[in-house]
Amino acid sequence: MADVSFDRATRIYPGTEAPAVDALELEIPDGEFMVLVGPSGSGKTTALRMLAGLEEVDAGAVLIGGRDVTDLPAKERDVAMVFQNYALYPYLSVAANIGFPLKIAHVKKSERERRVREAAELLGLVDYLARKPGQLSGGQRQRVAMGRAIVREPSVFLMDEPLSNLDAKLRVQMRADIAALQDRLGTTTVYVTHDQAEAMTLGDRVAVMKDGRLQQCDEPRVLYERPVNTFVAGFIGSPAMNLCTLPCSNGAVSFGGSRIPVPAGNGEVVVGLRPESLELAGEGLPAEVQVVEELGADAYVFCASALGRLVARTEAKRAPARGERVALRPVAEEAHLFDAGGERVSGIDH
């Protein structure tokens, strides 16, 4: 077990100008479940591969347990990785796949068998130990890949979108399994995903990346409640936060007649409103309902308005019909404010 830190770690792929990972600074304490999240091309997988030793570090350093591993090959870093495509050795049985790292490490056969069995029991794979990966379902293959990672008891787990190839139901189930497993083993884990829901549910902390740069790293709740810029605001949360650029005058902006105070400055500000901070009311910003997404208890109402497309959450029982004309009223004290450059306007807190 160990803590992990990226110290201004940078990766520039040969033949490209822009760094894939740009001076990443991240401290991951021992035992933490850290999720790297971002859209494709944000550098999250590259960052993980730099930590694994599969990608060179062009500048800066990567440390595991206080040890500088920047120039060490993958095999000397004591990390285990679960790949998006499982990467199981196809001609080896499940038992041999799980036991492979131990075999490479010259662990005695009896000891190896015991540990493989333990891992298999933990993951419910005991009945499949003799099978080949080709004879397993996607979820089972995923568990074998997990087994291969945990059997070594490494200092750090690395997971590269391990659930993205599973169907939706299995994904939710495996998500819970991974969380329980990590909780039980207490091993520092770095988990990469593009799915913000996965990030929010799994991570002790979540690091949001974009274009190779770290945007914000904090607990899921903080990311949701205090996003540092419009990118994080729009990326975290589903459906996404409503972001409207509005002119500011006399220390306030007007949103469909409602006054939202702005602490400083004039010019334009970006007002961010979560769907739950936008109410269907008798009066407010006039809008036309385009789509209604029913989620059981709640419904999301997608409307076209003078400020663009807006989403509001409402009780399913009170959801309007498609084509209906409604009025939207913001909950002013829940509004997020960003300056024209997209950075959070400091000075307001809820």
Binding site: G53, K75, N85, A87, L88, P90, Y91, P101, G134
Partner: protein, 279 residues
């Protein structure tokens, strides 16, 4: 009768005809090998070797240098197959997995070498080999081995490169993280997966080296150093050709290739990577 069925019958008939045209020389070789001398050349061809005799085989086997030349051929083939497997695997790895300056040019060059007609290279090769550092390589089996490798390797490298590229890189990366060195990952993970490709290229190398005639004929002048294909030519003398014995010798020469293929062809199991990664 439907049109579809008529089409199928026509296609099958064509297939059978092509098969017959291809198999007939082989059949004629084998059947001639069993015919007594008087039946070998007749105005009305005898389709079946009846009465059959083994005398042609005894004659062929007891010709001078038969066993010596068998040994030579076996030596040449074994070395060519082994070396081509090792060298082409390593070269294919380099071309498929590493980026280096001149990689594309090298790949094109490999194919270009294959385009040059063999006969055009014989004289330059002969001169080069006779002036080889460390003594002439002409009239030596090692020289022939090197010459065969120059022709076998490009195809083997090209084919294996395709096989290596078809194997997901994640498998090696998983092995690297699991504790293998780069070379260890190649040997433990890639090699078993490339095995079908190695079998395919080995068959090719075997057939090329075993059946090659012109280079062996030009390079190997002493009878005790010749290979079987050159030995076969000895049946044709100024006084005529001993067809029966020649065919018996040819049949014996063809057997190892057939045997080798039968043994290894089962190993060409495609789709061996199934289940390793999603897809």
């Amino acid at each position: 009768m439907t049109r579809r069925r008529a089409e199928r019958i026509a296609l099958n008939t064509t297939g059978v005809l092509v098969f017959l045209v291809m198999i007939f020389p082989v059949y004629w070789m084998v059947s001639t090998a069993f015919k007594p001398g008087i039946d070998v050349q007749t105005f009305t061809p005898k389709w079946f070797p009846h009465p059959a005799t083994l005398s042609n085989f005894t004659d062929a086997i007891h010709r001078p240098y038969f066993w010596q030349d068998v040994k030579n051929s076996v030596f040449v083939v074994c070395v060519v197959v082994a070396l081509s497997a090792v060298l082409s695997f390593l070269a294919a790895l380099a071309l498929a997995r590493f980026r280096f300056y001149g990689r594309k040019a090298f790949i094109v060059l490999i194919i270009a070498v294959q385009m040059v007609p063999l006969n055009a290279l014989i004289i330059p090769l002969y001169i080069a080999f006779s002036n080889a550092p460390g003594g002439t390589q002409v009239n030596k089996l090692t020289g022939v081995v090197v010459a065969y490798l120059t022709f076998v390797l490009p195809f083997c490298i090209w084919t294996l490169r395709g096989f290596v590229m078809g194997i997901p890189q994640e498998l090696e990366e998983a092995a690297l993280v699991d504790g293998c060195s780069r070379f260890g990952a190649f040997v433990r993970i890639l090699l078993p997966l490339v095995a079908p490709g190695l079998v395919a290229t080995s068959i090719f190398a075997f057939i090329q080296a075993w059946n090659e005639y012109i280079i062996a004929y030009v390079f190997l002048s002493s009878p005790e150093k010749q290979t079987l294909t050159v030995w076969l030519a000895n049946f044709t003398t100024n006084r005529g050709t001993a067809w029966g014995s020649l065919m018996a010798g040819a049949t014996l020469t063809a057997l190892p290739v057939v045997a080798f293929f039968v043994i290894v062809h089962r190993k060409i199991a495609f789709g061996l990577t199934a289940g390793g990664v999603k897809g």
